[in-house]
């Protein structure tokens, strides 16, 4: 059970090696936190020591976002082992390479399966657990790429558009149950995922995304753009005619 100061006792990061996910968790861990679960496909790479602190039990565990049929038992198992889940951050996702997708449509299917289908089942399994406990906060990593798909990464973008819409609906469906959903829409973030890529305007860092997300969660906001200015940038971009949009230098 988190306390009145939004200090969670149990935090779960699905996508335990995600840099942005870890940066969010970094901001959420307080002296009140007892358990942090880093769940990912390669738990041996999850580096629990980075979060080591007196009184905090950092657990690494195997979790495959693509194995959608395991998500419900997985979440139930977490609750059985660690009690109520206060915060679950859904941060796994793959960017992929649009050129690969063009050559091998099946590669696109895998990315979409993880980013969308896997996130849907993980969120639903988490939501069901949080309904059972009557409280909890689900934070879902979306992307501005889902706001308006671009030629350079429209498979990724469309999968994020899907999960973004899903998470908004989920938040509304959970109204009045004690469960909150926050959708995070980062812009270009300097991280492992984007290493070597050309930086886009208003690029930011995982740390900034983490800080803004933690703040938005405390305030009970449904969506957070990071950096905040992107909210306004995209308000405009949404209405830019496609011939012009195509030619914008958006990375």
């Amino acid at each position: 059970m988190q306390n009145a100061l939004h200090e969670a006792q149990t935090i779960v990061l699905l996508g335990g090696t995600s840099e942005i996910g870890r940066a969010i968790v970094e901001q959420l861990v307080t002296p009140a936190t007892r358990t942090l679960v880093l769940a990912c496909r390669r738990p041996d790479e999850a580096n629990p020591d980075e979060f080591a602190r007196d009184g905090l039990n950092v657990v690494t565990t195997y979790f495959d976002a693509a194995a959608t049929d395991t998500h419900d038992p997985f979440v139930r198992g977490l609750a059985a082992d660690h009690g109520d889940l206060d915060v679950v951050v859904v941060a796994f996702g793959q960017l992929g390479d649009q050129a690969d997708f063009d050559a091998d449509p099946q590669a696109a299917a895998e990315v979409v399966h993880v980013n969308y289908t896997g996130a849907v089942t993980a969120c639903l399994a988490t939501a069901a657990q949080m309904r059972r406990q009557g409280h909890g906060h689900i934070t879902v990593l979306s992307s501005v790429a889902g706001e308006r798909a671009r030629a350079s990464n429209y498979v990724y973008g469309s999968s994020k558009a899907g999960i973004d819409a899903f998470a908004q609906g989920l938040g509304d469906a959970l109204q009045g149950t004690g469960v909150r959903v926050t959708v995070v829409r980062p812009g270009f973030v300097h991280s492992k995922m984007t290493r070597g890529m050309k930086s886009a305007p208003f690029a930011t860092t995982p740390r900034v995304v983490g800080e803004l997300t933690a703040e938005a969660m405390r305030k009970g906001k449904h969506t957070v753009w990071t950096p905040g200015i992107l909210r306004y940038v995209f308000m405009t971009l949404r209405h830019v005619p496609r011939p012009i949009f195509r030619r914008l230098p958006l990375g």
Binding site: M1, Q2, N3, A4, L5, H6, E7, Q9, T30, P31, A32, G55, G83, D84, R131, R132, Q133, G134, H135, G176, T177, G178, V179, R218, K219, G220
Partner: protein, 456 residues
């Protein structure tokens, strides 16, 4: 009310008075007759009783489980024995309306009369008279309660005292109280004779409180935590006693026990999201409040609501802190740790938080209840808006200072302490848990607070 086949229930998201940390539960409206059905019907997450939800944090919530709201029952006054037997769901407000005109007062009242008798016992509430009269549980002679297995028992200080004292201050976790018998205080008039002192420093306030405490039944000080320099902790001390008939002027003498308790205003439902509390508004308020107090005035006659329940004049005032809500940090330290109290007050003042509700009080000896809060010494209560960042760090430091000198925090106000802080503040927890194990081995009674603090 007659027996019903179907329990009346609905889903709701509940918070305490501080409006923080909501959780979703099924709220079941019950009375004595369907209580057993409701208990048999409890899901795996169990149930918890809820009175008027005036606890600040989460003791009267139970996410994913049931929350039982007991209908107000009867109020029976035994004038000979000087006691009242009251349904646990009845409010103090209703009790006062019945007993004051008949020449009685409750043995203990908190700063609001919108609490139930069940809530008063479960929190073992204290009032401005703790230094002389102890807490509510000291005046209870019998509790009729329904246990987890739906048996109904009567317990008192001489009748299963272990269960009685575990229920006093037990935050609803030993069973559902149905009816409580407690002693009343005979009064001649419904007025309080109040002495007010405006004092320019914390030192003056504390010295005066100790000097005058044996002379007055009621005593409490308000402190200004936004004053700076030597004036940090300056305050207004109000000492009170029930006025006798001779003190009334001729007009009031016609109706010495007259009692009216009404709200004069209600906070509008739409307060700006960030509330209306900030350093400027509170600094101005504090200055006004301090200046308004006379340097010294004795024997002023005040009504019961004015002296005891001034906050009740404005309905829903808890919304002034905005959507994020607020916490009340309330702790006790023993007399020999007065330095710790002074240093926490100074650190609060240094943080310059917009705090206008600051109550300093002396406590007398505690009672036998293992989870009862009051112990001899000093207690302080401050309201702090949750929107103010870093209060977690600040309160964490205070927690350590309080525990280091053998102090503790009040469960009725708690919304943020850790399980560890709670355990260290209440060394008799194991004793309480043994009683709980006896009457609720399956752990039917549970609340958000009990899970958060590892109470159950």
């Amino acid at each position: 009310m007659g027996a019903r086949d179907q329990l009346e229930s609905h889903r709701a998201e509940l918070t305490g008075f501080g409006l923080t940390n909501p959780s979703g539960a099924v709220v079941v409206d019950i009375d004595d007759e369907v209580a057993a059905t409701a208990i048999k019907d409890l899901p795996a997450r169990g149930g918890i009783a809820r009175g008027l939800g005036r606890s600040y944090g989460d003791p009267a919530q139970n996410g994913g489980g049931h929350v039982l709201r007991l209908a107000p029952g009867s109020i029976v006054v035994d004038e000979q024995a000087c006691t009242a037997t009251v349904g646990a769901g009845v409010s103090l407000d209703d009790v006062l309306r019945v007993i004051v005109p008949r020449g009685f007062f409750v043995p203990v009242t908190p700063g609001t009369r919108y609490v139930t008798i069940g809530g008063a016992v479960a929190s073992d509430i204290h009032g401005k008279n703790h230094h002389l009269d102890g807490s509510f549980g000291n005046h209870v002679t019998n509790i009729r309660m329904m246990l987890a297995d739906t048996t109904v028992v009567d317990v008192g200080p001489d009748d299963d005292p272990e269960l009685f004292w575990a229920t006093v201050g037990g935050m609803g976790l030993t069973g559902l109280m149905l009816e409580v018998t407690f002693r009343l205080l005979p009064i001649e008039t419904s007025r309080i004779s109040v002495d007010t002192y405006r004092l320019d420093s914390l030192d003056d306030v504390m010295t005066e409180m100790v000097a005058s405490e044996s002379d007055f039944r009621y005593s409490v000080a308000w402190l200004d935590l936004l004053a700076t320099g030597r004036r940090v902790g300056r305050g207004v001390l109000t000492n009170g006693a029930h006025a006798v008939t001779d003190q009334l002027d001729p007009a009031a003498s016609n109706d010495p026990l007259g009692y009216a308790a009404d709200q004069i205003a209600v906070m509008p439902p739409l307060v700006p999201p960030h509330g209306v509390i900030n350093k400027l508004t509170v600094k101005a308020f504090n200055e006004m409040w301090f200046r308004k107090a006379p340097r010294q005035r004795t024997g002023e006659l005040q009504s019961i609501p004015t002296y005891f329940h001034p906050l009740d004049l404005v309905g829903n005032w808890n919304r002034v802190y905005g959507a994020e809500g607020f916490v009340q940090y309330q702790f006790h330290v023993p007399d020999d740790a007065v330095d710790t109290m002074v240093s926490i007050i100074h650190r609060l003042a240094a943080a310059q938080l917009p705090i206008f509700m600051t109550v300093l009080k002396r406590f007398g000896p505690g009672n036998p209840a293992p989870l009862s809060f009051p112990q001899s010494g000093w207690q302080l209560a401050v309201d702090i808006g949750v929107a103010h960042r870093r209060i977690g760090t600040l309160l964490g430091e205070f927690d350590r200072m309080v525990l280091a000198v053998g102090g503790r925090h009040y469960l009725a106000k708690d919304a943020s302490m850790s399980a560890e802080t709670f355990r260290r503040g209440y060394p008799r927890l194991a004793e309480w848990q043994a009683v709980r194990e006896r009457v609720d081995p399956a752990g039917v009674w549970a609340s958000d607070q009990s899970r958060r603090l590892g109470l159950t």
